[in-house]
């Protein structure tokens, strides 16, 4: 089975209906600004700007460090202030939010290869400010494939109308699934009714980037995903990414023991029997180039409804928080005053309170104003 390399990377995007383009630095995938942001935040892409800066949004938009916690951590907020959001990032580099973006897979054996690739992008006026480098390390067992699988799984799950996030910590001993997908159908329908740009599921970060140019291909082939739709409707599913022959048993076992998930899926780049009969397998297919749901879990899981409801409420808060990030400081303050009835002390205070106090419909009223 081929390891992830630039060719397989490009093949995946072509299979799912995204455009490829030829450039002086090789073939690239062309994505909308919003989809490029999702890709970079989930798979780990590096924006290269003409002004000499680079930017990597991966894992930056974290409000809290684990499920059911409302204690803000460094990520979106830094102490009293909101420091990370697509709106803030686009203020520094407007090109983030508009125009097509080129995602360039670069195979590296050494960090110097990355330095060279960045310099070459910067030298090209067409590429600088519009290019995201995706690093694929070839040294040792390689790196880059697992986050790429997380993004690819997220694409499928979004097409099945879930809200998706990556690296969601349940607890110190319960683990951190690589991908979590939630069926917040009612809330999603509200969003979709108000937003013509959102016609199926979303990645959480998309909700924070509503001003970004949007567009992505839909490439659901029902026969490749038999059973996955029902699983997505069942509540909350967790996915664990592994490459090659690496075992997922320890993490999978932890997720099964949480009694939180309606489904647990191994995410693979190589055919391998799952470590547990209780889990499904979503795999990057050698034959098709895209993702296949090769095996459903053998039995339904019985999550505890109270646990799942708590989780869904917390996750909905995250969705609200991401929507609020579309607002500037004045708008946030005004909303806080209006809804909470007193001035907020800090931006962090405002957003955390609003996340816990509001419904998605109320936020959408303000965001779409």
């Amino acid at each position: 089975m081929r390891k992830l390399n630039p060719s397989r990377f490009l093949e995946y995007f072509e299979t799912i209906g995204e455009s490829l383009n030829s450039t002086s630095e090789g073939e690239v995938v062309t994505l909308s600004s919003r989809e490029a942001l999702v890709f970079s935040a989930q798979a780990g892409g590096l924006y290269v700007f003409a002004d000499g800066k680079t930017f990597a949004p991966k894992d930056l938009l974290k409000f809290f460090n684990r499920v059911s916690s409302f204690e803000p951590i460094w990520g979106v907020c830094d102490g009293p202030d909101i420091v990370n959001s697509p709106r803030i990032w686009a203020q520094e580099h407007a090109s983030l939010a508009s125009g097509q973006k080129y995602v360039m897979p670069v195979e590296l054996d050494d960090e110097q290869d990355m330095v060279t690739a960045i310099a070459r992008v910067r030298e090209n006026p067409k590429l600088a400010d519009n290019t995201i480098i995706f690093r694929i390390e070839s040294w040792k067992k390689g790196a880059g494939a697992e986050p790429f699988l997380e993004y690819a799984a997220g694409r499928v799950l979004r097409d099945f109308s879930t809200i998706v996030d990556t690296q969601v910590t349940i607890g110190a001993t319960e683990g951190t699934p690589d991908v979590v997908a939630c069926d917040l159908s009612d809330q999603l329908r509200l969003v979709m009714a108000r937003r013509p740009d959102i016609q199926s599921g979303v990645a959480l970060i998309e909700l924070a980037a509503l001003s970004f140019d949007y567009g992505r291909s839909f490439s659901l082939h029902e026969d490749h995903f038999a059973g996955l739709n029902q699983l997505c409707r069942a509540g909350v599913i967790a996915l664990e990414a592994k490459t090659g022959n690496a075992a997922a048993s320890d993490q999978i076992q932890k997720y099964l023991l949480t009694n939180l998930f309606s489904g647990v899926i191994e995410l693979r780049d190589t055919p391998r029997s799952p470590d547990s009969e209780a889990v499904g397998v979503l795999q990057l297919s050698e034959a098709t180039g895209g993702m296949d749901f090769v095996r459903n879990q053998s039995r339904g899981l019985q999550p505890r409804s109270d646990r799942q409801m708590d989780f869904l409420r917390w996750f909905e808060c995250q969705a609200i928080g991401h929507l609020l990030l579309n607002l500037n400081s004045d708008q946030l303050t005004e909303l806080f005053q209006e809804r909470i009835g007193r001035p907020s002390v800090t931006e962090t205070d405002a957003i955390v309170h609003l996340m816990q106090s509001l419904q998605i419909s109320e936020v959408l009223d303000t965001v779409t104003r």
């Binding site: 460094w74 990520g75 910590t169």
Partner: protein, 339 residues
């Protein structure tokens, strides 16, 4: 640490510390990269002594100057000035030994003559005093090892890192402060290092000590990284804080045969190699205790693969208490001790 915790620490280092001076470079890789596992001379963030790698650091500050790696005698174009390992343990509820399971990552740098920092991002949990003690003890060889939750300390260190004497002048007060924190903690909570040892499953003898831990073979053969790291963390804690004693690291749930098996199967495992190659430390199994009662032996054998919780934890505690009492009274002895 989850990948996102890793990314946040690195992002913090990039945005709040950076390279500090224009003539310095911050060597740091994205959380998803494996390049940190390369040796420093090959462009990575791993330091080795002999053929033992000490784990990868999260960052290093460097300068373009010739540097001879004392480990391989080769000269490289880039000199490491300061190595750093970061953790979000204080924000993820880690109050126990999880805080020091990565302490050894920087030790490779220290032992290569490069100053180091273990940075714990500030959080609701405090830095364990034992970590301060370990860092102060590790600094005894003349190369400072700091433990801090304050990035301005890191910045201050980096600013003077190309001048070793200036760095020492900056670092020594912090090392001394760490020693005071640990000494006060021992004084207040235990009264003496002997009582501290007693509380930490450690039996002190005139020239050696026996530290025991409930490790089982599976902890080292299965994919969980945590048990191996914890074993190494606990080893260095004991070794550094009782530096004058030879350390027997007793795994009562294992035998010498199983230890030899791990030597064979885990020859390339970083944590196992550190445990087996550390000077002044020997891992022993229960069969290497002379005078061990057959019933205790049988009881431990029955628990050799059992996760220690609930009733099995109670049974284990009882058996190991008996071993500890035996070692204290010399009813039990390490068979090779003193030879």
């Amino acid at each position: 640490m989850t990948r996102s915790s890793d990314a946040l620490i690195k992002r913090e280092l990039n945005s709040k510390v950076g390279r500090v001076r224009n003539d310095l470079t911050l060597r740091i890789f994205p959380g998803t990269s494996n390049f940190d596992q390369k040796l420093f001379g090959d462009g990575g963030l791993t330091f080795a002594v002999g053929d033992v790698s000490y784990g990868s650091c999260d960052a290093a500050w460097t300068i373009e100057e010739e540097w001879m790696d004392p480990n391989d005698g080769k000269t490289y174009r880039v000199r490491p000035l300061l190595a750093l390992e970061g953790t979000d343990a204080l924000n993820t509820g880690s109050t126990g030994n999880a805080q020091y399971q990565r302490f050894h990552h920087v030790l490779g740098a220290i032992r290569s003559g490069i100053p180091g920092v273990y940075y714990l991002k500030k959080g609701p949990k405090p830095i364990r005093p034992e970590l301060h003690g370990m860092a102060a003890a590790a600094s005894a060889g003349g190369v400072p090892y700091l433990v801090t939750d304050d990035l301005t300390v890191v910045k201050g260190l980096v600013a003077v890192s190309d001048d070793f004497n200036a760095l020492l002048e900056f670092a020594i007060p912090y090392v001394e402060a760490s020693k005071k924190i640990f000494d006060r903690y021992v004084e207040k909570n235990f009264g003496s290092m002997e009582q501290f040892a007693f509380d930490r499953s450690t039996v002190l003898k005139p020239s050696y000590l026996i530290k025991h831990a409930g490790r089982m073979v599976r902890n080292f053969t299965e994919s969980s990284q945590r048990a191996g790291h914890i074993a190494v963390g606990e080893m260095f804690l004991t070794k550094l804080l009782f530096a004058d004693s030879f350390m027997y690291y007793l795994f009562p749930r294992m035998t010498s045969t199983e230890i030899a098996l791990l030597d064979d199967r885990k020859a390339d495992d970083k944590e196992w190699r550190i445990l087996r190659s550390e000077e002044g430390v020997e891992i022993i199994g229960r069969d290497q205790l002379s005078g061990l009662d057959a019933s205790i032996d049988a009881g431990l054998k029955a628990l050799e693969s059992t996760p220690l919780k609930g009733k099995s934890m109670q049974r284990y505690d009882k058996l190991v208490k008996a071993i500890e009492n035996g070692l204290r009274t010399d009813a039990l002895k390490v068979a090779t001790a003193g030879t």
